[in-house]
Structures are given as C-alpha cells and as structure tokens.
Symmetry: D2
Subunit: 338 residues, 4 copies
C-alpha cells in the first residue's frame, strides 16, 4: 500500500519509520511546507516529495498519514476523504468539537475510511490486556484505573496551543478507559492544579489532574495525570472485573537489577513516548493497512476521536465549575452549533 | 501498662493479641456485655473480667482499648476521659460529626490522651513510605494515589449500620491521604455505584467508589475502593513528589512463584485485614504505649478522626449531588449543630 | 509442653523467644555455664535456672532444646536420650561423622525422639515450595538450584572452630537440596576459594564455594555460597521439574519502592538469619511439639543430620582433591571407625 | 557495507533480517546449495544469488556472514580470510579444537577480521550488565551464575551431530562466564544426566548439566543447563562482586499480570532464541560493521571461540571422568595435534 506522509515533524518521523518498516506498506511521498523537513525524510527513506494537490490527484497513492499540526487535521481529512484516500490521522481531529462534528459529516458523506491515531490501543501489552478482557478472563469489567505521567512538562508555548492537558494528554486515557470498559462514558468529575510549572497555571491550564468517569450502568474509571515524573514516562493501566484484575505494568529497555548495601535498583523505564511506543506505532500502521485491505470498520474511528474530545471538554468544564459534567451536555451543545 | 479491653468481638480479639504480645503491656481485664465472649478472651490470655464501672474506678488500670460497636465509642471515650484513663479507640469515634465534635470537647476539657485506631499508619511498609517522604526522598508531595479493595462485600445487614462505604471503608484511605500529603484536604468529588451487590445499592450505599481530593495548595489525592477483589485484600499506596515516586506494594504470605507452560504464577496476597495488618496492629499498640509514656501528642488524634469523618461526609454528599463539596461546608454545619 | 533450654547464647535466645511465644509450649528452665547469660533469659521470660543434672532428673521437663556450642551437642543428646526427654538439637550434631554415628546409635537404643534444627525447612516460603512439589505441581523434580549468601564473613576465630564453610554454612543447603529432590544425594563435586577474606584462606577454609550434587537416578542440584553479599542475607531456592519450575524469592521487611531519575529502588532484603527466619524458628518449635505429641517420626531427623554432614565431608574432600566424591565413600569410612 | 550471506537456513534467515534492517548494511547476495532456500531469501530481501567462488572474487563484497552447517565453517573462514573479506561466523568455528586451531592460524596469517556469533554478548540487558561491571558498579567480580534452559529438547538426530550439550548449548554460557569474569577460566567440573529424553542419554549425551568453573585467581562461575523448561526459554545471569550483585532477569513479550482467586499470573517469557534475541542479533551485526569500519579488534574473537570450545571439551571430559579438568589439558592436547 502506497502512502503519502503529510507532515515531516516529530510525529511524522515516527510514522515514516513505521510505514517504511512495514513489509505491506511503501512510503511513496512526503509533504511538508518546510522543504528541508520533507527532504530529510525523503533522503532517509528514498521516497518522493509532493504537494497536497499532487498527492490528492495521484491515483497510485492509496493512503495518507496526516501528521501535520492539529489545526490542519480537519481540512486535510476532508480534502483526502473527497479524494478517495484511506486516511490515518493523528489525534485530535480538531480541538473544537463543532469542527470535528462537521469533519466527520464529510467523512461519512464520502464513505472514506478514517482511522485516528490513538496509538496506545496498539501497544502489545495494552492490546493483550484488552484481548484478555474480551476473552472474559476477568469477567465483566467494573473499574479501570489509568496512570499516565509525562517525564517533564512541555514548554508553555506548546501548552498554549495544545487545547489544555485534558485535550492534549488525558484524551489518550479517556479513549483507553472507554475502550476497556466497553461502554460509553456518560459523566466526568475532574480536579486540576498547576503544581509543576506555575506558568502553566498562569496560561490557564493544569499540569496535575485527576478525573473520575462513569458509564450509564455505573462502571467507573479513574485517570491520573501529571506532567512530571522524574522516573520516566509512566504508563500503567489496570482493569478490575467481577472475576479478577488485569494490569499492565511499565516497560523497561533492559531487565537488569543491581543490588548493594542500599537495596535493589533497576534502571529507569522508557523516558518518552517515542521509545515506549515503538511497537505500538508499528502495530498501528499494520492495523490501518489491514483495516483498509479487509474493508473492516476503522478502529479507533472518527467517532472514537469525537467522543474522547467530548470527554476532555467535559473534564475542562468539570474542573472549572466544580461539578460533575455529562458528556451529553457538551455533545448537545456541539450539535446545536454544528 | 495495664490495659482494660472493652469489647471482645472480632476487632477486640485483634487488640487482645497485640496487647498480650507486647512486652510493655499487660492485658489486665476485659469487658463485654456478652459474658461468653469476655470469658473466651479471659481464658485465652489469663486476664480478669470486669464491668465498665469497676474498670473506670480501678486506679491500677492505666489504659483502655475501646473495641465495642461504634455507637458506644463516644460515650465510652467521654466516660474514660473523665476517669483519667489513656484511651485507644477504634475508628470511627461516631458516625455523626456533631457527636464527634461534642466528644472531642469532653476529651479536651479533661486533658485525656485519646488515640484513634487508624491502624494503617502503623503498617511497616506504609510507615516506611511516610518516613521516606518526611526524609525528603521524593521532595514535596504532589499526588497520592490509594487503591484499597476488600476481597468481598459485607452482608447488607452490616452495610445498613456501617454509615456507608465512605464512612466505613474509605475513611481509612482519607486519613492516609491527608497524612501523606501533609496538608489538610479541603474539597472532595466522589463517584459511586453498586456493581457488586444490588442489595447494597437498594440499601442506599455503594460498593464501588472513586474519590478525588485536594488541598488548599492544589495537592491532589485519589482514593479508589471496591468491595470486591477476588485476588485478595488489595492495599496499595503511591505518592508522587517533585523528585520522584514512592510506592507500597501489596504484601504476600509467601514469596514463591510457579512457572509452567501457561506462564508465571504467584499465590494470592493476604486475603483479610486481620492477616494483612498483624504487624500494624502490634505497632499501633506499641505506639500508643510510647505516646502515653513519653507524654507526646496522640497520633492519629481525635482531630484526625474528626477530619477523616468530615471528608467521608463530604464524599457522601458529593456522590449524591454531583458536585465538588468542601470539607469546610460539612464542618461548619456540624459546628453549628454541636 | 515444658521445655528446658540448654545454652543461652545467640541461638539460645532465638529458641527462647520461639518457645515462649508458642501457646503449646512453656519455657520452664534454662541452663548455661555462664550464669549471667542464664539469668538474662530467666529474667526476660520468667523461667527458672537449673543444672543439667536437675533438668535430666526432673520428670516435669518433657523436652530439651540444645543450643550449646557444637562440641557439647552429642554428649547432651546422649545424656537426655537416656533421661527420656524429647530432644531438639541445633545443627550440627557434631563435626565428626564418627561421633555423630555413635550418638545416633545411642538415640536409637533409647528410642528417644530427636529432631535436628535445619530451620529452613520450616520457612513458610520454602515449606510452601516443598508442599507444591509434593502436590505434584511441577511434576518429578529434576534440578534444584540453591543460592545462599551471608552478608559478611564471620571472624576467623569463628571459622577455625566451625568445621569449615561446607560443614557450617552449606550444610543447610545440602539438607534442603536432598529434602527437595526427595532422593538421596550420592556424589559431590565442589570448588572453593577464599576471595572475601584472605585470612579465611590462610586458615584452610573457603569463603566462596559452589557445589554440584547428584542422586542415583541422575537428579541434579547446585549450591552456590558466598560469605559476602553486600545487599543482605541472600536465600533463594528454585526447583525445576518435568512440568515446570517453582522458585522462592528473597523476603523483604517492607514492600516499598522508590522511583527517581536514576531508576527504581527497593530497600534491602533481611540482613541476617535471625530476622529472616523468625517465622521459621517459630514453626520449627511448633513442628517439634506436634511431632512429640502426635508420636510421628522426627523431621529433620538425626539421620538427616548425619547425611547432611556426610555431604559436607564429601564436599571438603572434593574441593581439596579435584574429583567427584561419593557420599558412600565418606559414610563407609565413618562406619569403619565407629 | 555489502554483505554476502552464506547459508539460508534458520540462523541464516535471522541474520538476513538483521543485515537488511541495518541502515549501514546491504544484503547483496546469498548463497545456499539448496537453491530454493537461497531464492526465498533473495525474493524477500531483493538481493542476488551467487556461488562461493563468485562471492570470493567479487571486490564489491566487503563482508560475509557464515551461517552454514558447522562442518563447513572452518573451510569457509579460511577461504574468505584468503579472499580478504571481513568474516562473521556463527558459533562454533568447528567441533574439533584441532581444526579450530588450524583455522585460526590461517586467519592470523591473512590478517583477516573474524568475529564469532556469540550473540548473547549483544543482548541489551546482558550488555548493560557487562557495562555496569566494567563501570565498577559491583566492584571486582567474584562469582557469575548463569541459568540457561531450552524450552524443549532437540530431536536426537540433531543431538548426534551437535557435538553434545556442552559444545552445542553450554558453550554460549561458557563464553558469557569468561567474558563477565574478565579473566580466563582454567578448570571445570561438570555433572550431567539424561533426564528429559532417555534417547539423548542413549546417544551418549546429556540433557541436564551443571558446570563449575574457576579462574586462576579463584573467581568462580556456575552454569546450569536443561533441555526442558516448560515455561519458556530461560536466560538469566547474575554476577556477584565485592560491592554488590548485578542480575539480568528473563524478558517478556508483554507486561500484563492477571490476578484472581488463585493468585497472580503473568504470561510466559519468550519461548525461543529467535524471539528472545531479536535485539541481540541486530546489535551483533551492527557491532560487526562498527568493528570493521573502526578497524577495532573483533569481539567475540576467533580466540574467544577457541576458548569456549576448549571449556566445553573440558566439561565433556570432567562429566565423563568425575574429576576437575583444566583448560590447559585440552588446549595442550590440541596444540600437539595441530
């Protein structure tokens, strides 16, 4: 499957490597307004460089991977949906729920295949955890607890355009919680504070948040996030069910342990999403290709992207207003505006 | 130090063993309205049996351990405070914040020593975690995450008189969260559901709850409780600080691991608080004796008992009303009634 | 069961505590040629002091615990066997296989109950490992690997009278290996070196040894010992069977883990046999009492003590002569001398 | 660097993938007497097919990877040493120490670069363990304990031509032991039995062996091997030093853990060397390329291959004769024959 890569920045490079390394994929062309960034990818992987227009018009290009800044995602999705391409787009579709709704309407009208880059679903351990749940190993799931912490906060300049921690960071965990619970989340209570970097607080955002979520049947989830974890990129999930618990621990580059008079010491866990999720990014592209080939429903779908953003919007509101906020409330408002 | 044990039920037996086993303590007499229960303790540990009046009047009795049903706690505390005894009382002081406030007023007026049985503070691992925090090993604490799950739900008959899961079960975790954060909790958001036993829901209580807590400076805590954990009595704590994280894992009766074609298997963790917290109960009594001997301030104090109950009351209200509830709100109401 | 304790030194104190704490035992009297040592035990546990003659003559004393220096063990066993007491004796019975053989002949003639203090069999984790093997969980055992390391070497003055590392330290592991394999060990190959303390080498002993053992049917065992382990008292066992493996990990006083930029850190394991094997010593005395009451065969028996010493003797010879030595060879020699 | 791959069997495929995936390498041609096997590799990786003569004569080919059956290794090494190629050769160079000696003489005369495929040195965890030792983290190493178990025994037909378990399987561990001790091993004691498959015993080989090794200064090593481990491909190493211990645990495809009423369960470890050592094989080829480019000494060298085989020969003799065998003994005999 011939791919065009749109966006040659940090996450674009991640997907370039995943596409290149997949025996069923070919990285045909790359586009980036910064020609040096595009050339770097082209040089490394021996692919061409093309404009958006050319990519859209090229019948040989079957799929696009959208890795541009967020504010271009929705426009590009609509453009390539109309051009008949299979679309892989990094999360989020947009920071505006209204804009996402409109974009998904276009996707639906064109019948285009759209998959959203919630890469964690493809992490081998998290995927195994999900498979174990689906196989009934812990019975009906009652509670999902997710701990997700970044090693260090991003610069405030990034924070300002990120949509805030709930839409930028927690959104991954919201998608995971709903996916693992197997039922739509209906309400959210969130607490937040700026403990790591006062400037983040001054910019109107938090760097330390905790969120309670619940489904219509009363299933519970907890998401705990911090922008600071000196010990690495902390990514843990546990699911409690009627019959037992299934947990996914952090992953380590090496398995050595050092013992001395002060105790037992293991080296740090992975320190960044790019090293932690190498296998997930590869599996994600493989899953996208399989979905297109097998004509199965995209997963995570555009709707999954919309719902995760709606949960994030509800969390923003809950933290600000000190009350439990329903997902229906934010979705209804978006529908009325869309 | 000569002790009188008040109440020879399940928790009374736990403390009888702890007092008996302490080289600095002597279990002198036991009281229980059920004479057979009292005789059982007396027979096992070779102590006497006495009435409340006799115990209060006996100058040789220096300390009492109150292990009766909750509704007698406050009366007995007041009685023995006036009798000049050092008092160890199981949590909670009372299920009514107003009653607790009045009781503590009596304690204050008499100058009696009162320590409340939040036994977890004395668990060797949790105590080591606290000591590490106090030693600055993780820097200023920003977030405390507590997972506490019972192996199985209590009978509904118990639930009805328990004050509800927040006052009966989560109250331990609220005390731990505040103790570890080292700062008063000011507000609470809680979600709850009855997923394990519908009858618990019918009785107006929950069996699966999650609670967000915060301090005035924005420090965060999360308490996650369930009345069902097939794999044992799940008791974990982690504290995230500026410089790192400190976690306390579950404890195991044995350290064996079995490996076969299906993987690696370890036996269950402790399955009940009476086995899990044997060392904690012993350290608790030792701590009480030391506190009395050294004339230091009781810890956990009556005030700690009051605050934990206030947090529980706020959690009840938050779960019912779908809003963040301040501790001040429930404390102010209690003060006005008291 | 009324006990007399013979020897009030370090290991005597360990057993005094175990006897005192057992609801089925009573520490009646203590004997030690050092009257201050005897008085210390008597004062702490409220027991009497008596001479060996009086203990032997006292019909109320049902059992003796021999915790004297090794060179008195065999004489005392014979003395109390003739006096009709049940005998618990610390390992080894004697450092001379010939003397052990003679002593066991006396025990057999008198029909006395004799149990040897290989305390590790009673450690809850090792006992659980053995029970799992006996329950067939790993199928027929093929290989046992034991790692046993002391935190630091003993003084050379101790080494000189210890019988050497194989008879003093490895002997525990030899007993465990044979017990877990469930079949008599028949041959030994041993390597040894003095790496930790050159003076130990100068005294003709080793401080770092490794031993291969095998049974008649070809089952294998490996014992790895060092007199130095900066990280604590390292006590691990694993058993490999046809169907799987069963391992017992080290045990820890607390379960906390500290994570920071340099990695994940756990406090040291137990640092001494007296803290590591508290539960084992208690279970050992309880097992001795049960054995006497139920009139079951002692385990570990005098014969177990003899065989473990024979394996140690064979290891000494193997390390010195650079050849595989059979247990039969050393046993036969002892039989001829006895 | 243009590579020719010699041998398109199981291990050839492993190296084809590693060469293909390395940005600094190019898999130019493949040779295999079985043309279908060669074509399969050529088709998958888009490389050519060539005869040994052509490869030797082609100046564009800089390096060869010898992955043929063992009995061709020495001839091919000599052939390509004379042709001026850099040579990577799978272990062992030959099963005859005499033949290895002669082959290495040729390598020395030609000045060819030869690296032997002891892939475990390149495993990220074992490499990290070695680096930690070299950095002095555990002080001077005193003891190395290696556990290495295959999931299941090979067919007897393989065993017959394998040179026996010491030369086929333990040889990896002998190389690791010497590498980690940082000092030449001088003597070996070995025990062996056929417990897994009686036919292996009938063929004159063992399937369960344990080996003691020592250096001139008295450093110790233990290698424990079994051809059966139902729980996977068991690969563990620990090194004990003056200042502490460094251990490398088994590695797992996923980090999930399942808890239920029967305990805590983790899925199996890797079940085969091809999955367990994927990263090691990639790092090995990268290390070979770096060695050639930087003109550094090959490591593991031909001499390392010779010594590991000599240790294996000594182990064979020790197990058969029941005595400690020196490496000098077997090396001297080989020198006299060579």
């Amino acid at each position: 499957m011939k791919f065009a890569l749109l966006g040659a920045g940090r996450i674009g490079k991640v997907h370039a490597r995943a596409i290149f390394g997949d025996p069923d994929a070919e990285l045909a062309v790359v586009y980036d307004p910064d020609s040096r960034a595009a050339e770097a990818i082209a040089g490394q992987y021996g692919c061409g460089i093309a404009s958006i227009d050319k990519i859209a018009a090229d019948p040989a290009i079957e799929a696009v991977a959208i890795c541009t800044p967020t504010d271009l995602h929705a426009d590009l999705i609509e453009r390539f949906a109309r051009a008949g391409k299979a679309i892989f787009c990094e999360k989020p579709i947009d920071l505006s729920l209204v804009r996402v709704r409109r974009c998904l309407n276009v996707v639906e009208q064109t019948g285009a295949k759209l998959m959203i880059g919630f890469n964690r679903r493809f992490d081998p351990s998290f995927a195994a955890l999900k498979a174990a749940i689906d196989a009934g190993e812990i019975g009906a799931v009652e509670m999902v607890n997710i701990t997700s912490r970044d090693p260090a906060p991003p610069p405030v300049s990034y924070v300002i355009h990120s949509g805030g921690i709930f839409r930028d960071m927690s959104i991954h965990d919201f998608d995971m919680a709903q996916w693992l619970l197997g039922e739509a989340l209906v309400a959210v209570s969130a607490h937040g504070a700026a403990l790591v970097d006062k400037q983040i607080g001054a910019a109107g955002d938090y760097d330390s948040v905790n969120v309670l979520l619940e489904t219509a049947s009363g299933k519970q989830a907890v998401v705990s996030n911090s922008r600071r974890a000196t010990y690495g990129y902390d990514q843990r999930i546990e699911a409690l069910g009627v019959k037992g618990m299934m947990a996914a621990e952090n992953q380590r580059p090496v398995t050595i342990e050092h013992a001395d008079a002060s105790g037992f010491h293991r080296p740090p866990i992975y320190d960044f999403f790019m090293s932690r999720y190498v296998a997930a990014f590869a599996a994600e592209i493989a899953g996208f290709i399989r979905m297109v080939k097998d004509r199965t429903a995209p997963s995570p779908s555009g709707q999954d992207g919309l719902l995760a953003l709606a949960i994030a919007d509800a969390a923003v509101r809950s933290a600000a207003e000190g009350r439990k906020v329903t997902i229906a409330e934010v979705l209804d408002e978006a529908d009325q505006s869309a």
